[in-house]
């Protein structure tokens, strides 16, 4: 039987070892606890980490939680790790934004908004696993519908699509 401290330590281990964001439900299954118990322990642990002079943090992303280094220490970590893949180009990010907000959406619909072709951008986004084919539109030609992936949420550090910033018409100055 695990004591309260040990329960928190167990969550710490799981977050440390999990290769991708892990949900509370998955943690509860591993620990044979109720979801509510895990939620409470996780909140405590997150607080321990994020509010103290520690180098690590617990992030809520892509529907789950993961342990990462705090951004402030990036210059040091970068000296050690393979650098992350290049940030997206502006056109790629613009295309990704249209897909994120309009999904499921076809290539033609994206091109209608951007006013230019997006084939190679879609290929790039598919290769980076940020978008995926989510079905076919039931219109003539049955064009492919695109949507974002779990990796997309992780890529931008979002917990869910609801956390996307709201679309505004006026310039966001």
């Amino acid at each position: 039987m695990l004591f309260a401290d040990n329960l928190k330590a167990t969550i710490e281990c799981i977050l440390f070892a999990a290769p991708e964001p892990i949900t509370v439900k998955e943690m509860a299954a591993i620990m044979e606890l109720h979801v509510e118990e895990v939620e409470e322990l996780l909140a405590e642990l997150t607080h321990d980490y994020n509010d103290t002079a520690r180098g690590l943090q617990i992030q809520a992303v892509a529907g789950g939680y993961k342990m990462t280094t705090k951004p402030a220490f990036a210059p040091y970590v970068e000296k050690l790790c393979r650098p992350k893949s290049n940030p997206l180009s502006k056109p790629a990010l613009e295309t990704l934004a249209i897909i994120a907000y309009r999904q499921p959406v076809t290539r033609a619909e994206i091109e209608a908004i951007r006013g230019v072709k997006v084939d190679h951008l879609l290929t790039n986004l598919l290769e980076r696993n940020l978008i995926q084919e989510v079905g076919r539109k039931e219109t003539p030609g049955r064009p492919i519908l695109y949507g974002t992936t779990k990796e997309f949420l992780e890529y931008l550090g979002l917990y869910s699509l609801k956390d996307l910033p709201p679309l505004e018409t006026s310039p966001a100055e």
Partner: protein
């Protein structure tokens, strides 16, 4: 000409138009179309002078702007649609498009910040295999008792006892012809090649082995199949010969 700056920096005609509108702090809902058209076309001209290939989308937009400008010059009543309908602003479609595009263009700034923030955080490269190597492997007989093992063994023995006598009674009728067809068919489904033993069932009669081998020799003579051995004493693989010999009919 100041237009020379960052000509290829525009992702498309909408991007360029928005840039012109924002730079001059124009009201997007009431675009001075003549002014914007002039500036837009000046950009295209500059691009041409720089010998940049202009994407067709830019040209289409230029034409659209000119057509809107022309409609705006017409006296109001003539562009009024059928009775009862509001007069349509020729710019409306373009404005709707620009507003829609602007929404995404604006949000990209915020998404970029999020992207860069995530680029600053790193994961722990946990080594699952290394971790598991230090642990005892899981018990594959977790739910199996010695008695289960006995039961399974008895079943296997019983199953083995039944079919054998039936096989002994059956008279095998194999001919070189049927075996040739069988070999060709089997090889067709196995383009990666087969060994001779694969052409025979698990337990079989000497007759079948001999007849199958004769069939193999015959097919080889007719160049319907090919045989390869990579190294001496290595595996001998049989392939369908797709290159030639296909015309000859199998006669038996």
């Amino acid at each position: 000409m100041s237009y020379k700056i960052k000509l290829d920096g525009f992702e498309g005609p909408l991007d360029l138009l928005l840039h012109l509108i924002e730079k001059q702090e124009l009201d997007i809902n009431d675009i001075p179309i003549a002014q914007i058209t002039e500036q837009y076309l000046a950009y295209l001209q500059a691009m041409e002078q720089l010998d940049l290939s202009i994407a067709s989308e830019f040209l289409v937009m230029g034409a659209t702007l000119l057509s809107i400008k022309a409609k705006m010059l017409l006296p109001r009543p003539s562009i009024q649609a059928e009775e009862g309908e509001e007069p349509v602003d020729p710019r409306e479609e373009l404005i709707v498009k620009l507003l829609e595009y602007q929404k995404y263009k604006n949000v990209v700034k915020e998404l970029k910040e999020k992207e860069l923030a995530q680029h600053q955080v790193f994961n722990h490269p946990f080594n699952f295999n290394g971790f598991l190597a230090d642990l005892k492997p899981p018990n594959p007989l977790n739910n199996v008792s010695p008695w289960d093992l006995l039961a399974v063994y008895k079943q296997a023995l019983e199953a083995a006892a039944v079919p054998e006598p039936i096989h002994e009674i059956t008279q095998e009728t194999v001919t070189v012809g049927t075996q040739m067809d069988y070999i060709l068919e089997t090889l067709y489904h196995n383009p990666d090649g087969l060994e001779f033993s694969h052409l025979l069932p698990d337990r079989t009669s000497t007759t079948r082995i001999v007849v199958t081998f004769l069939a193999l020799l015959e097919l080889l003579r007719l160049s319907r199949i090919e045989v390869y051995q990579q190294t001496s004493f290595g595996r001998i693989l049989i392939f369908l010969n797709n290159a030639g010999g296909g015309q000859e009919n199998v006669v038996c």
